[in-house]
Subunit: 250 residues, 8 copies
């Protein structure tokens, strides 16, 4: 129906009843749900350059394949998180160039193959069990135009491994810290740097870890300033936020 | 001072007063932190330019006064959070230029009076009860060299107030969203913008709000990408992180 | 039947076959529920016109089949929730007209095939993962004589999709809002309409969603007035309550 | 700025450049955040006829007084919840006709003194300690044009008190059930009636009641169909929703 | 009274003044609770012989006084729990014979002064801090016709104190075990005896005691058979249940 | 055996073969448990007449079989709870007279086939899903010499089913009430009777039932006096306690 | 005393005044705890040399004074924890030599004034707000014959302060680590040393610290081996355990 | 290697090849961790003599095999916890001398076959279901040079079994107490001994055990002094800490 109103406005322009500039002005203020909001949304897509994302958990292989087909057919890059090898196999049939990060459980199809990526994001993880979440963050950042650096297996119980890499820490513009169990690493990292730190609690642990709750609470109560937190195991969210932050420094 | 000790040691090596192996042994037990860590810490202070902060909650008026004296005597700027009017009165005796934000419960003494501040930080709050936390964030950002913009009382139950300010949202480089009760505002804001959003749950609410837990969980589970979270009522932490992020765009 | 016993007793009193005091004694020990409660219960069935419901979860295929047979043999309509395809297959053997809503996991057999249904109920859902619960609500409302309208996939992170359908929102007499993760949608919908809103938290999410707890708490703490809440994933309960409410406007 | 566009449009109408009907049409499609949303909001106000509400908890006497003054000056009715006697005294100075419900802790100033109110809402409470919440619900319903009936102190441990009032239960169009401790009353009431039941858990209890959590969980898990739940102690929310529902039957 | 109405009705049937069908109709709408329920309730009062109980917490001194007056005027015995010394003073003005258990915070007025009481109930407590709850249980049992024996301060960390009293344990017919902190005592007692054990968790403790939650969970998970549990600090409930059990052995 | 050692010692004292002080010393280090504790334990076994119990959950079929063999070889009766059909098959090979309660998941071998059992225990359950727990309680009571009566499927949402059986309720000496979801049934039953009520929360429910937590909290907060609670799904514990209580009335 | 009774019995056996079988019977019913348990308890007191402890929280000044008097009159040393200045004043009247640790809230009276104390215990704390708990631990260790070393204010956000004291860490035989907020310090310390670490979570923090729960969970999930945990704020328990451990190395 | 670099530098200083100030500068930027931290870490390995540990849960058989190969190739002893029989089979292929503790789910390869081990550690467990955790603790202690004694199946509901072994309790230098359900055993043991007690809650239990939370809270709130706690099911951590403590007494 709004289309009708639009048509009328254009007829007025055609009949000289309204100046082109005025009509343009009117168009800008037309109910944004038709012209405005989607424009915002469009702008957002354009500016973030971010691909559509498929959260595969709870979806069937067939569903993932179909959604991937639709996204790729539209010429969009693809990021599928929490993807199983079976899902990858199915997507690969659609697009042979699809890449699978086994550790991070992500399927990706880049817009441009030769995208070097921007530096500045450092991904730090505490233990080897935290790697899937760290890699999910890495792939997300990668898909948003970054070339994230990795610093893995530097948990607080072996502090020297972390400290011997303090150059990397100091050079980063934004740091993602992934840790399970007591989730203490973001506090230690946060105390060593002066850039934003995004903490990702993981569900790694047992007993009183309560599925990552211990790490989550630890990170929220961090005594280090400059630390913000995302949901348990939310590597995607951390990578996304880090990319938004790093883009500011471009 | 350790540098002096080190210099003396090297002079002794140079002068043959001490054998290389003995010097080696001494170097191995030299407190390494004096070589490296304190430097890191020093750098950090220099680069962040952030004042020392007093978390007043649980401290006596006398304690706040004394710590303030020490900080000001050292020529540092001052930020005291969760400060009572009595504490302000006491600090004002020490430094008449001290400023009190009654709503945000902060006492501040700036290094430079004429610091215009960098734009880019927008602080959004849901209800009037969330203002103390929002103002704490604002004062923190201010002390770190920013001129934060405020957009208050735009809760999700009256969406039009938020949407009629979407220009402000789109112009921000980093947005702090403060909300209690169900904590839905960061999700809505996060869906409208493409910059980093820092969500601050507040303890505003009653019953099943469980002291801010409902808002905290809501924000951690936000369906909008680009949202990270700080502790309940942690306006300071949000302001600090926002300042770190905004500095990247300078 | 108790009525018959009672009538006989009264006839005996009338005929002098039984003394008043003896009759009195008999009346006092007559199961009172047969005089009052079962009537209430009967009335209730008559007025709600609601079919018996089978909650299939935790039941075997054979059990579901047998209960369905008994219900259908009694001439009642059938609503089975949380039903698997296997259960549907078994019920279909009993009654070929049985219908299966794969998404909503419901098996239904209507009393009357040509029941157009009353309009007025709108079912809104946030994400595609919330559809099973939304469809369970829809089928329940349908079985109670309604023709519910659906407005799916309008989560708060993409507000324009919701707002572009505000006509539907304004035309509804009662709205069911189904959402997982942070559960913010009912607050937004509640702020746009002036009809009762029934919020259904779903267990969709991960990490600090804690099986739907985050959404549940969010909805209970909604800053929008006019929102009431049912149990996590309780599409049936929402559909039932909405039907009771919508019947009032008939 | 939108005002400017509006002015231009009107000028065009004045100059005959655009027909009144077309201008009207244009006005309807002007960005709703300026004309549309507030219109929705306006409609909402008009239709609900609901006064502005002050949630007094956490506000000072002075703040409550000032907000009340502003509301009353605008000619609106007034509902203040969680109000102390001191707050009432202060509001009474502003408006001598203000009424205080000591039990329900509400201050009210009605638009019209002689508003008889619509019947249909029944408020049931379990124990005398639940009365403040029940009365808050009653006053809210009253302010929205209802004449709620009360049925108090009919907890499940003395079932006969409830059952001896089953006529009241059966005559209601919507029932609010207020209960603390185990919160069992809504289940029992829900099993006796076929109208919508709004359950309000209260924080009454001790030990493992955990501030109303026990009652809240009990109500959410009610085995009776047709029961929806609001936040702990949220008498206002229950009264508001009940009023929205009862208006449907008008 | 209803009995009278009923008798009149039957007489009318007998005398032919009213038709059987009309009588039938009248009987169907006779409030059934008047025939059955109130009788049950009445029996219950008679058989338990239990006084009315005032839960003083959250009540004013004046309220406690007034309720006490009403109960005593009706010739009932009185049990007021969680009573302050001020409340006692007020009740003593009404009835000088009122007795105050300072430790158990109970006010009691017995029906008969010379009631020796039945033996069989043993009340065991872990620490001196648990005594208020233990005494509340003792006074409740006393008011229900028992002469409870006490065995206090026999916590599990000093097992010999408990074991040196095993005769008392073996002679009891029902044992109330009151304990805070880890709540281990009921398991130990339950392993030594073959009579029913009622466990009462108390809110004594700090930190991870979480207001008695630790003790409550401990008791619910007791590895000893024959242990049942009441709410945290619910000395009254334990005393009441113990009295019901002990009456069975009379 | 220790008795023999003790006797020899005393004979030696008597015969002057050992000095009094040496005997004293020996007595002090005699394992005290042999003098006292094992006697207590023995007495306990004799008096309760209770069979050894196998909690099968988490055990292998082979383990259950072997433990059963050992118990039966010792001439003891057998009660195995949470037993699978496979376990039953294995036990049946050992003892063909073994009986399996499929619903209650118990395997039993009675000492005496013709044990009529004592009446007095009534087991009430809310829904059909609660039957396994109710039956576990029933079998436990049976093994301890009782003939428990059953009153199943009388949930609070259909109160008339419960009330029409009030004779059964009034005749019981101890009542076990099994309920999931909101766990309201014990409160209702507790309000109708004056005998001890043992409440058993079950894990039946979904969403905010949190594995039986809602029912557990509901029962602990029961507004009816005389209700005690056991662990979630602990039918065995309830049956055991009920048997201990009922034995008191013998 | 029981020993005397026993001796008399044996003398009677020896003198033939009592038959062996009768003596046997007497021995069987002699309270075994008098033979065994109290001895154990006595040994324990002797070996630990630990004073009686008064947990003052929840006690009145008068109660603390009286218990102190009794302990001191018995010639025992005194340790009172969670003591207020008023309590100290009262105890000082009884024993002028009493010492008050204002920070640790302890009152102590030593057995011997000149007890140098054993080295080996190091108490590490994260922030200044954790000092009361750290000092409570220190005083407890002191009273058990230790000379604890303190290393305060070395939280993980300023790692260099901790590391510059690594000599102290390496020299300790047992380390108590006191920390609130995220409770990360024990993990870091545990990774630097090879001696037992006792972690004490404190209730310092706000929001999602949930009264020390965050720190407690963090410490229980420590990725460093050799860390055990005590209750929130339980400085006494940590000091006691550390003293028991340190005594092993004597 | 850094030592070599350092030596060369010093030689250059000595030889005048490099100025003191330049050497100073070089020293300041030498990675401090190479001077200090790695040494600490090295010392730690040497002193603890502890093998590397593989936490097998969540790892594949292949991963466990490969890590084992690497550890064994380096000449280290091996401890793999939470290992399945399949993992053992795979490790056995690498090292035929590998030993599997089926109950404790550990794979071990000792450095020296003939290591008698130090006595002093006693491992106490409550029920047979707690044995896997107890055995994990035992194997860990064994690998650290101890010969732990076991005292199993001595739960608090059968106290005589524990007390008849009090000699073992009194002879221990450190006791590990493993218990599920209510977790009361550490309190009882702690009251009988004067050595450090390490409590290990297990996830054994059901219903309100909440996966070991009940036992954990119980142990943290132990009324016995000298008890510290590790994470739920953390047998490894308890064994490790006990070994560190027992080494102090060597």
């Amino acid at each position: 129906m709004e289309i009708e109103k639009l048509k009328i406005l254009l007829e007025q322009v055609k009949g000289g009843e309204i100046a082109v500039d005025d009509a343009l002005q009117s168009l800008r203020i037309l109910p944004f749900e038709d012209l405005g909001f989607s424009k915002i949304d469009h702008h957002r897509q354009l500016r973030t350059g971010f691909p559509e994302v498929i959260f595969c958990q709870g979806k069937t292989v067939e569903q993932v394949k179909q959604i991937s087909e639709r996204i790729l057919a539209a010429g969009h890059p693809l990021l599928a998180t929490r993807a199983t090898p079976e899902m990858y196999k199915a997507v690969k049939e659609v697009q042979p160039a699809a890449r699978y990060n086994e550790l991070g459980r992500t399927i990706t199809v880049s817009r441009s193959e030769e995208d070097a990526g921007v530096s500045g994001i450092l991904i730090v993880s505490a233990g080897t069990s935290d790697l899937p979440v760290a890699e999910e963050a890495a792939e997300t950042a990668l898909m948003m135009g970054n070339q994230p650096e990795r610093l893995y297996d530097v948990g607080v119980a072996g502090l020297h491994r972390l400290i011997s890499n303090h150059e990397k820490l100091l050079n980063a513009r934004v740091i993602i810290v992934v840790a399970g169990m007591e989730g203490a690493l973001p506090s230690v990292v946060g105390g060593l740097v002066d850039c934003p730190v995004i903490a990702v609690p993981t569900s790694i642990g047992y007993g009183a870890s309560f599925g990552g709750l211990a790490a989550l609470l630890g990170m929220l109560n961090s005594c280090a300033s400059g630390v913000t937190v995302v949901n348990i195991d939310n590597g995607f969210g951390a990578g996304y936020s880090a990319a938004l932050i790093n883009r500011l420094s471009a």
